[in-house]
């Protein structure tokens, strides 16, 4: 508990210091609880998520950084490796490939990379995975783009 708090505080200071270093990620710690974070990440360019801003919720366990943070999408997203209802993310570094060499910031980078490079063979969203696996890239992209517009872009007016 002590150790995780100390580590998170270091990450917090680093995020404050490097605020402008990565314009695609805005990582914010909860005012009253250092174990709760949210992030806004920009959809990577040349993907159906381009132009969208996606919100992530982090719940950090007491054993952090020996155990990974729990991360999920709060913004609805159509992606093979993200659960359509819960926003849960299927990403190895959030599971058994986690190590303390990762930080909340680098986890955000890994999630952006996952958005650009879906792994349709281990889908949490089967509809999305099946479209890609059957080679219907156009179908996948139009669905993903539609949900990006509906959920991840500011409403006009």
């Amino acid at each position: 508990m002590q150790a995780s708090r100390a580590r998170l505080f270091k990450e917090y200071k680093e995020v404050q210091r490097e605020k402008t270093a990565d314009p695609d990620i805005q990582l914010v710690c909860d005012d009253s609880n250092i174990f709760k974070w949210t992030a806004l990440i920009k959809g990577p360019s040349e993907t159906p998520y381009e132009g969208g801003v996606f919100q992530l919720a982090f719940a950090v366990p007491e054993q952090y950084p020996l155990q990974p943070p729990q991360v999920r999408f709060l913004t609805k997203i159509f992606h093979p490796n993200v659960h359509f209802k819960t926003g849960e993310i299927c990403l190895d570094i959030l599971k058994n490939a986690w190590s303390p060499a990762w930080t909340l910031q680098s986890v955000c980078r890994a999630i952006i990379a996952l958005m650009a490079h879906p792994e349709p063979d281990s889908p949490l969203n089967c509809d999305s995975g099946n479209l890609l696996r059957s080679g219907d890239v156009r179908g996948f992209q139009s669905m993903a783009k539609m949900y990006t517009r509906l959920a991840a872009m500011p409403k006009k007016g």
């Binding site: 990450e11 190895d92 599971k95």
Partner: protein, 301 residues
């Protein structure tokens, strides 16, 4: 009721007859549940043996193989002639690092080898620089380094912070210390492998078909990933500490007599003159027993 029926079906999945609400529950059965189950299995394992066990006679090893291969029993007899005790570690994928941690700190505590402490501190400093050069952020590894150096200070006697042998055992069983020291070794190992990637690359390609960096990310840095020759070589080199591994497996010897194979991992650039309180020999002061998939600690007679 539901569970009972499932057990009766001998673990088979619920049949197609299951009503929709349950199916929805099943779809919610996601990775988090799997991780929770893994944690449950681990805590089961934890009840059986602490991270680091008590010293046991070599004969306790023979008891495990009573109905097993005669070659193994013969080899255990040979070991019994050379070694006085075994100290088991938990089979959680961290057993090599855990064995190394205890063995090394126990050695320093018993020998009070101040020169060795000074020597390893220089190497640890070097490992830190290696990680920085490789682009690791300080905040990711510094806590683990600090905790190891703290343990190193504590085993030196005659200070306010000094700890007894019994306390060392307790600390190595305390997850908040033990896992941090294991992680320190994992960082050191990953740093060394990437620093000398040209040397390690062929071994890694032979083992996993991944790049050196991928290998470190997937097989060295995560807790619970088992160690191989590559890990042992890298750790021994990075810290400048020789390690002897005795192999207890079913391989038999050509010359008819039974002997136990061993391999000494000798650090490449190591200055061994101060490495041991038994400085008249170049024998490693850390001896581990390897059985396929697991490492324990051995105590020479």
């Amino acid at each position: 009721m539901q569970n009972e029926r499932q057990t009766q079906e001998d673990g088979q999945k619920e049949s197609v007859a299951s009503p929709t609400p349950e199916f929805e529950e099943w779809t919610n059965f996601v990775d988090d549940d799997i991780m929770q189950q893994q944690a449950a299995v681990q805590s089961e394992e934890a009840k059986k043996i602490p991270f680091v066990g008590d010293k046991e006679p070599i004969s306790s090893l023979a008891a495990e193989y009573e109905s097993g291969s005669p070659i193994l029993l013969e080899k255990i007899k040979v070991l019994d002639g050379q070694y006085s005790a075994i100290r088991r570690t938990r089979g959680d994928g961290n057993c090599f690092f855990r064995s190394f941690m205890f063995s090394y700190l126990e050695h320093i505590l018993e020998c009070q080898d101040q020169a060795e402490v000074e020597r390893i501190k220089v190497n640890v400093e070097g490992c830190m620089k290696t990680l920085q050069k490789l682009g690791y952020a300080d905040l990711t590894f510094e806590d683990f380094f600090a905790l190891f150096l703290e343990q190193l200070e504590c085993v030196i006697q005659g200070k306010e912070t000094s700890i007894s042998h019994a306390e060392l055992v307790l600390r190595c069983r305390d997850q908040s210390i033990s896992d941090y020291v294991v992680m320190f070794f994992r960082f050191v190992t990953a740093g060394e492998i990437q620093k000398r990637s040209e040397f390690f690359e062929p071994f890694i390609l032979g083992l996993t078909n991944s790049t050196v960096e991928q290998f470190c990310k997937s097989s060295v840095e995560p807790m619970g990933e088992e160690s191989d020759h590559i890990h042992i070589t890298a750790l021994s080199d990075a810290l400048g500490i020789p390690i002897r591994v005795m192999y207890l497996d079913r391989s038999s010897c050509d010359n008819g007599g039974v002997s136990v194979n061993h391999h000494d991992f000798l650090p490449v650039a190591g200055d061994l003159t101060h490495a041991s309180c038994k400085s008249e020999t170049n024998d490693p002061f850390i001896t581990l027993l390897y059985r396929p998939g697991h490492y324990d600690i051995l105590y020479p007679k």
